[in-house]
Amino acid sequence: MRYILFVISLLWPAFISAQTWEDQQLFNEAAPSQTLRILSSTDTAFFSPIIEDFLEETPGWSVEYLVTGTADISRVLQQDPEGYDVVISSAMDLQVKLVNDGFALKLADISHRDWAQWRQSLFAFTSEPATIVVNREAFEGKPIPGTRQELIQALRAEPDLFRGKLGTYDVRSSGVGYLFATQDARASETFWRLMEVMGGLEIRLYCCSGDMIDDVASGDLLVAYNVLGSYAAARQAQDNRFEIILPSDFPTTMMRTGFVSKETKHPAAAEGFVRHMIEAQDLATGAKSSPLPPLGLHPDGRNPTVIALEPALMTYLDKLKRRTFIQEWSNAVIQ
């Protein structure tokens, strides 16, 4: 028995490295003296300018960038807190819970706007709205819906056109999808009516924003709900077969956040990276090379739907709450 445990403990790192990544890239391989490992949910293409700038400022380091789904990040980090130096995710609720549970290092020297940080550990560096992406061709000659209510009316008007051609996040597997859905549900009953309508029209469920945008562009989907606006805007630069709608009834805006793992072996470099990331994304000081949207200036008042960084975000992560919410969501969407 003891022998088996020993073997398992030897092999354990191998199991971890056996984690399958959506993407995995090593920047600045030429200087492998020290490597900063970044666990992230952001696609590499969006983040590489920030990393490259950082490496230019900090020679002698290489960065290993590991991409996985938002829901996966918590599990991966909890299994091996020493293995990652910086954790970046768009699922604010999961990030807050990780910080609340003591996985983050306090970076007292970083001064950031108060509403964009939590416990001086979790730092927001983008503000990204959830958007509705529609196929431009399908809405040719028709008014493009500006609110969820108008979208419901459009769907009801031509159910046969939209049947099987609607998409949204599968909240059961996507962390950011779950965050958007719960915040929508908090904001308005319209969300549930929309889900019921969309569910009635055989909605298709996705893991990631990128896939939904692909399908809307190609015409496989006509409407995708709660797509990350930043990804859609970046794609629109090369591809204008789709339209991005910022719902004017209640926009839900998420902030991408990052923190330094408490067990990091390179606290100084990791702090330097977070500082660089914040400065690069700052509207005032940031270089405009980053494809990620900058952090908004005034989320309070003008734009009250920016999801606040507060412990209440953990509410919907509660096992019972989640069970109830998924139950309700499934009842609406999967018919």
């Binding site: 609340n100 003591g102 416990r119 001086q120 507060e310 412990p311 509410t315 509660d318 709450k321």
Partner: protein
Amino acid sequence: MTEAVNVSGSLRRRMTLTLIGGAAVLAVVLYAVVRLYAAQIAQQGQDSILAASVTSILDAAILRDGTVEVDFPYAALSMLSTASDDRVFYAIHKNETLLSGYEHLSPPDGTSHTSGTYLAETPDGALIRVATDSRTLVGADTRSVITVSVAQTQEALQVTLNGISRNVALFGAGFFCLSALLSFWASASTITPIRRLTSSIARRGPQDLSPVASPVPSEMVSLVASLNRLMGRLDKALAQSEDFIAEAAHRVRTPLATVRSHAEAMLHRVDQDENRKALRSMVRAIDESSRAAGQLLDHAMITFRTDHLERKELDLTELLQELVLRLTPVADMKDITLHVESKEPVLVSADAILLQNAIRNLIDNALKYSPVESDVMIHVSARPLPTLEIRDQGAGFPQDQIAHLSSRFSRGDNAKGIIGSGLGLTIAQEVAEAHGGALKLSNLPGGGACVTFSL
């Protein structure tokens, strides 16, 4: 005098230190009490929010088809947001099994029926405040006890308390400074009557032994009463000794006069030269003793009168001329001429008997020390002060003793062979001082003494 007094501490310093010490103790006590009280209030605030959070979660618990559902509101955790971003933990138990939340928040003692607040620690060592409450859900055939615990770290509370502590510390320090100033003032004002008494006694003339009449604080009454009694005894003792001297002088003078007249009569009767010489020196010694006794009497009288001056308006010139008239026969015996220079009447308010006595002594002195066939000039003037100046043509005062000549029984070196008691100048000075004036002795540039008597 002060050097001889043994000094042990200072009343004022002791009082100041006691008051400041008391203020310091009070400031510290104030700080501790307010700090404790603030901590209690801040803790109550946190406890009530935690309790509200627990209640809102507990209220959301329902039993549906035998399973417990807790669809608690967003506000349950949202209300726990603080400026210091405190960490939040919660746990929902059903009959002691964890349904949801954090494992380390198991209710204390393992009992399922708990409610209240307590302090605990998270596994990573953070201090948390936990509020717990429970509720029984009754189903068709089951009873489940739902226990909800909500916990929060105490960082915001600590920040609040530190702020309060800082303010209270500042307040305490201010209170202390103010008290210190007040204690300086209080001790200074308490010590004032003592100081007033001290200066009133120090200001007194050497003969003033009257009791202290000005009112004193009750604490000083016995001290001042003792002082008054002591001075009374001293006064009495002094008066007795003066009386004694006067009585003695008087008793000596009368028999001396008898002896002198017998000696004079005897002088006329004897023929032998050595007998006459012996008798003459006897008469001379008797004169000297008689004069000393007379001056002792005068002095005793003056001491008495200076304590009870009988002031009257009088003309100094007139008084002087009267005296000169009386002393002219004495002056004639030595062929000395007395000149009085006076332009106007000099009106003074003074005790006539004392003045007479003093001026007579001064003129007497001038006559005694003047050579035969000389002049004594007496000048009276009204301005700036009523002044009398007497100049003679004698040898003048010995320069090195001029400062001490007016003390009792002091006589100059040049007085050998001249009858005198050493009291004349003393009497003149005491009279001048009793009237608020002074006696000044000097030598004239061309020889001779000058005495200035001013009132």
